[in-house]
Symmetry: C2
Subunit: 129 residues, 2 copies
């Protein structure tokens, strides 16, 4: 774990399913000793936030996508359900501000206190890497 999410989302029931479905802004509080790893990130950058969805049920192997009883049952690897053997969340968002080890992002659909595993830039074209 490299840090923890600060967010107005206090309960699982309040979380939208995806960040482009009205998730609020959040702050990524990164561990102080990792500050050098943030060098080069800046407001406006699109970023992937990887989280550990600590409220997930790791024993679930099948689900109905989006809880819709009219859809067929799928294996969790064919869905983005948080309930899965290793409940890693991948969230694409945009940096809106950085203050030391605190990184503000535009949208994040996880509850306050969610552990952060990694941050990665969104890849552009091969020529820009």
């Amino acid at each position: 774990m490299i840090g923890e999410v600060t967010s107005p989302l206090g309960r699982i029931e309040d979380c939208p399913r995806q960040p482009d479905e009205d998730a609020p802004g959040a702050t990524l509080v990164i561990r102080g000793e990792l500050i050098d790893a943030l060098k080069g990130l800046q407001p406006g950058d699109p970023i992937l936030v990887l989280t550990w969805l600590h409220h997930a049920d790791r024993d679930v192997l099948t689900t109905r996508p989006r809880g819709d009883s009219e859809r067929p049952v799928s294996g969790v690897f064919a869905t983005r359900s948080p309930n899965r053997p290793n409940p890693i969340g991948i969230h694409e968002t945009t940096i809106t501000g950085i203050r030391g080890c605190e990184v503000d992002v535009a949208h994040l659909e996880v509850v306050a206190g969610t552990p952060i595993l990694d941050l990665k830039p969104v890849l552009g074209r091969i020529s820009e890497r």
Copy 2:
């Protein structure tokens, strides 16, 4: 860990940096007790493979992107370097075949024996979720 990669790539030095840079096909050997979690996946599906890059140096906080000495030093969270505090790889590829718990994919830029953490579908438009 939900499984392990079988690949012709035996050495780190042989791995391309990204899957669209000539990575060979690979087979994801998923643990037998998780077979139900694969239900619904089929050849042709685009998929994200999350791996644990077990050869990475977890103490590295800064790097020069792609080892280019003319680029400025960046924090690892601003790069896709495998060396980072939690060396999780995200690989976008396409399923080419499934036989029980073995999932063939078109391209994967990791060495044989790399642990697999998760599989997720690539998200389409909101209306298709």
